[in-house]
């Protein structure tokens, strides 16, 4: 099982060299049935990551480019009158696929954003009075540009909380970049990636994540982290119970990915920054740029053992 997951990671690495940790986090997010937010500049390989993941897991993949004139129907789909049958038939939107890449989500209006986010939470879409389930597994990878760029609608905290993780890919190291430049890595390699997992196997893994055991000592540590964010003045607000649950799920998935049947504090520490950084900010920071520092502080300020 672990080999299969390792194989997934290395396959994706063909397309996205030098980003092993980020790929693992993305996979972990997928296994924990959460959604992923990638915050980065354009051209860093966000699309490649999403596409490669879809391919390696044998899943369908769609991409929605968010713009300021994007309407909810553009995402969810629309019913159109068919002359032959004299009926309205539903034309599903791009959201009806296993992996959806919502590119530059902060460029769309809040109305369109919330259409996507509701679908993410409910895992179903209600269009014109009819509820249509989304495919299983369903995984949204949203990307956004850093806030300094003009003409954006930043996601509110309540929306951010729905993403299990937020990661950023960052610049590749020189060696990986050379590979891209030489055409040995990158989008060109996407076609060479073949599925490693079947959908059933993926579902089975997702079920196994929940069964990874957590000892009392680990839960104590987790709760100490939550309590710390709630008691310290430097935090504008503490982590929500949903965030706690997200931490636990992600840690379980991380443990499973490393071939364990139980969670170690290391697992929590590995996923902690990605899971918490978009949920935290300092009281006087209204742009949400301090989350990363705060989540790093959790790693050093909360004791693991006692």
């Amino acid at each position: 099982m672990q080999q299969k997951l390792d194989a997934c990671v290395s396959s994706v690495q063909h397309a996205l060299a030098g980003k092993q940790h980020e790929i693992k986090l993305a996979l972990c997010c997928l296994l924990s049935q959460g959604h992923l937010l990638i915050e980065d500049l354009p051209g860093m390989g966000k699309t490649t990551l999403a596409h490669a993941l879809a391919r390696v897991l044998g899943l369908t993949y769609n991409r929605v480019q968010f713009t300021s004139d994007l309407l909810p129907a553009d995402i969810l789909g629309v019913s159109i009158y068919t002359k032959e049958t004299q009926q309205f038939t539903f034309h599903p939107g791009p959201i009806f696929s296993h992996i959806v890449l919502a590119d530059e989500i902060n460029r769309a209006t809040p109305k369109s954003q919330s259409a996507l986010l509701e679908a993410m939470e409910e895992r179903q879409v209600s269009v014109e009075g009819e509820t249509r389930p989304l495919p299983e597994p369903f995984f949204v990878i949203a990307t956004q540009n850093p806030f300094s760029q003009a003409g954006t609608f930043p996601l509110p905290e309540s929306q951010l909380d729905r993403f299990l993780m937020r990661i950023s890919l960052g610049y590749p190291d020189p060696e990986a970049e050379r590979q891209v430049l030489l055409g040995l890595s990158g989008r060109v390699k996407l076609d060479t990636i073949s599925p490693v997992l079947t959908q059933d196997e993926l579902k089975a893994f997702q079920l196994q994540v929940i069964q990874v055991k957590t000892a009392a000592a680990v839960l104590n540590y987790l709760q100490r982290i939550l309590a710390y964010t709630r008691n310290q003045e430097d935090f504008a607000y503490g982590l929500s119970p949903r965030a706690g649950l997200a931490l636990l799920r992600a840690a379980q998935a991380w443990g499973l990915m490393h071939g364990r049947k139980h969670v170690l504090p290391e697992d929590i520490q590995a996923i902690l920054p990605s899971v918490t950084q978009h949920r935290l900010r300092e009281p006087n920071d209204h742009l949400g740029s301090t989350g990363a520092a705060l989540s790093q502080r959790l790693l050093t300020a909360v004791d693991v053992v006692v």
Partner: protein, 709 residues
């Protein structure tokens, strides 16, 4: 105290009530507590009380157990009445009374035991517990030493725990927890106790009641027949302690004068004054106040010509153990400012009442003063008095000697001391019994004797020559504690010596024993009896016998010190000391200030306890594995590699392994073990697998193993 006695009969009404009202019965736990309490309360009395009380205790206890098991029922009313009457009768037969103190204690114990047989509900159990508080105090009537105080404290803890136990839910059997709770409650009460002890106005001693068991006299008796003191020397009991303000005088100057014996009747030496003799014998408070030979004011004013004060004064405080006698002990020519202590014409100290409790008194002595340089005629006559018959050999011997030295007293004394020294005289605790002409026999035949023999023979020889002389009984020497400046005098330091009157010098102390056994004066009795080996031979376990074993002696001295302090600062904390303390504290004393101090202290203690109870932090309790791991982290810190906050065990291990590569393998094992125990849910606390790993971890953490990398 005796009201308890009527309790059983007045309970008949209550038994009637019990049929109608359902009452909480006494649970098993409480019964265990009650039994323990009773046993502890009874224990210190066990050797003092009549044996039938012990039997009563066993019978009542067994009956109670049978009642609890449901085999027997409660005793019938007539049986209870019979038991009460029996107890009263037994007490009366034993003590001849039922109102004395000892009889009272026994009666109290009996009622306390009989209560076991009619304890039916929780309320009765409370009564027994409260009664225990009362009864345990009675043992302090007999002894107030440190061990008995400590025992009382411990028993109070148990009684309080019993009270806690009565409040517990039925069926809980957490004895240790209950005991701890009781102990905490008692400890919380300690500051209050200390405060009340210091500040509550002291009344005169409440237990100044004479217990028959204390009637046995100890110390030097009112008259002396050679051989008496030898009896005293078999005891290592404490006679008194004297604390000097400056340095302790040399050992051969420590002659503690008790009584002056100037009248010889047959073989027995007595005090000249009949009142004094009687006072010693009956222990009654005689009319000492009117006696012309005793002054209760300044002696130097009363008899201005008797003493010529000379030399430096010695200041010291004596704590005398109870003797049941009136005389007190002091170094030569004492001066005292205490209205209850007088000075006799022989310059010994005398108390108004027999010393029934330990008594403390301050003395100032002028050891080099001249006494009676002009000897009054009546005093001279008293001290040369000798019967005309008996001891013919001695008389001829003395007469001859007296003529030899041309009737010069000093020379005569020297010759006699020389005689004791040169002839084969022995110092022994086992002198042979002497016949009618005892001085003759001692001087020429047996030549074995104790200090009393030498002193009395010496005085006899003096009086034959017409030189005024008298025997002094008291103590000589004592064990010195130079660090704390006190001398401990024990019964075996009892001694007798002589005083001789010389022209221009007055009364001069002569100790003939020093000529025979100089080590008795320098080093004490033990050294003098070293050859004979008879020192404390009847008490083989006396700690004084083990003086030569260093640590036992140190322990003994420490204990003596502790007892002394207890005695001095706790038991002797009386009205005077309290006043002195108050004056030190407040400048001048006033009731208003006292009330303020008491109230303020009480308030402060209660507030402090309250704050402690509210804000005390519960100690963080770690599970055993974490405790061990933290020990491991401590080891790491000592190696200079501290675990950081937020560092997981595995990350720490990596850092530690780089820091101390030689311990790498061991650290790996410890960490693996801990991580397994702590984070693998398959190892659940309390299960055998977990315990096994835990034991392994314990072993590992205890012994860091160095191994080549």
């Amino acid at each position: 105290m005796f009201r308890q006695k009527s309790k059983p009969s007045s309970q008949s009404g209550k038994t009637h009530n019990q049929r109608t009202i359902a009452v909480a019965s006494i649970p098993r736990t409480s019964l265990i507590w009650l039994f323990t309490t009773q046993a502890l309360v009874l224990l210190p009395h066990l050797l003092r009380i009549p044996y039938w009380v012990g039997i009563l205790a066993v019978v009542c206890g067994c009956w109670r157990i049978m009642i609890f098991n449901g085999r027997w029922s409660y005793p019938a009313r007539w049986l209870k009445a019979l038991l009460v009457i029996g107890a009263v009768t037994g007490t009366f037969l034993n003590y001849g009374t039922i109102v004395g103190l000892e009889a009272g204690v026994v009666l109290l114990l009996c009622t306390f035991l009989l209560k076991l047989l009619e304890m039916k509900n929780q309320r009765d159990a409370y009564l027994v517990v409260f009664l225990s508080y009362f009864v345990i105090v009675t043992q302090l009537l007999y002894s107030q030493a440190i061990p008995s105080a400590a025992y009382t404290f411990f028993t109070l803890v148990v009684i309080t725990s019993a009270l806690v136990g009565l409040h517990q839910q039925q069926g809980t059997l957490e004895l240790k927890k209950t005991l701890r709770k009781g102990a905490v409650m008692m400890l919380q009460a300690v500051p209050l106790m200390v405060l009340l002890f210091i500040f509550i106005p002291r009344l005169g001693p409440i237990w100044s009641v004479e217990l028959p068991s204390q009637k046995a006299r100890s110390g030097v008796s009112d008259q002396m027949t050679p051989g008496d003191i030898a009896e005293l020397s078999k005891s290592d009991a404490l006679a008194f302690r004297a604390t000097f303000t400056d340095t302790i005088p040399p050992q051969n100057q420590l002659y503690w004068r008790g009584i002056v014996l100037s009248e010889l009747m047959g073989r027995t030496w007595r005090q000249a004054s009949r009142e004094l003799t009687l006072a010693g014998r009956t222990g009654q408070d005689l009319k000492l106040s009117g006696n012309p030979l005793i002054t209760w004011r300044d002696q130097f004013q009363r008899w201005p010509n008797a003493v010529k004060k000379q030399g430096q004064a010695l200041n010291y405080t004596v704590i005398l153990e109870p003797t049941q006698q009136n005389w007190l002990y002091a170094l030569a020519v004492p001066q005292i400012s205490n209205v209850d202590i007088g000075v006799t014409r022989d310059f010994t100290l005398i108390a108004r009442e027999p010393v029934r409790l330990r008594q403390q008194y301050k003395v100032r002595s002028y050891p080099s003063s001249l006494v009676d340089v002009e000897l009054p005629h009546w005093l001279r006559r008293q001290n040369v008095q000798l019967s005309a018959f008996g001891n013919p050999k001695t008389r001829t011997f003395a007469q001859q000697l007296w003529d030899d030295v041309e009737q010069k007293p000093q020379l005569y004394i020297d010759r006699i001391l020389q005689y004791f020294n040169r002839q084969p005289f022995y110092y022994t605790l086992k002198p042979p019994t002497l016949g009618f002409n005892s001085v003759d026999e001692f001087l020429f035949t047996s030549r074995r004797g104790f200090c009393a023999h030498y002193a009395s023979t010496f005085v006899y020889l003096m009086r034959i020559a017409g030189i005024p002389a008298r025997v002094i009984a008291g103590y000589q020497g004592g064990e010195r504690n130079t660090t704390n400046n006190y001398v401990q005098v024990r019964q075996f330091d009892a001694h007798a010596w002589a005083e001789v009157w010389l022209e221009d010098k007055g009364w001069v102390r002569v100790d003939p024993t020093a000529s025979v056994a100089p080590e008795r004066i320098q080093d004490g009795l033990e050294a003098a009896l070293a050859e004979e080996g008879s020192f404390l031979e009847d008490t083989p376990l006396s700690p004084i016998r083990f003086k030569h074993i260093g640590w036992i002696n140190r322990l003994r001295l420490e204990w003596d010190m502790l007892e002394y302090r207890w005695q001095r600062f706790v038991l002797n904390y009386n009205q005077d000391q309290q006043m002195e303390f108050f004056n030190q504290l407040f400048g001048t004393f006033s009731w208003y200030k006292l009330a303020l101090a008491l109230g303020g202290g009480l308030g402060a203690i209660i507030i402090m306890l309250g704050v402690w109870i509210i804000f005390r932090r519960q100690p963080i309790k770690y599970d055993p594995a974490t405790r061990l791991y933290l020990k491991f982290c401590q080891w790491g810190r000592k190696q200079g590699c501290q675990r950081l906050t937020g560092e997981t065990p595995i990350h720490y291990l990596q850092r530690l392994q780089q820091h101390v590569p030689y311990y790498s393998a061991w650290a790996q094992r410890v960490t693996d073990n801990f991580v397994t125990l702590q984070y693998n849910p398959d190892f659940e606390e309390g299960e055998s697998l977990y315990q096994k790993e835990l034991v392994l971890l314990k072993k590992l953490v205890r012994h860091p193993v160095k191994s080549p990398r």
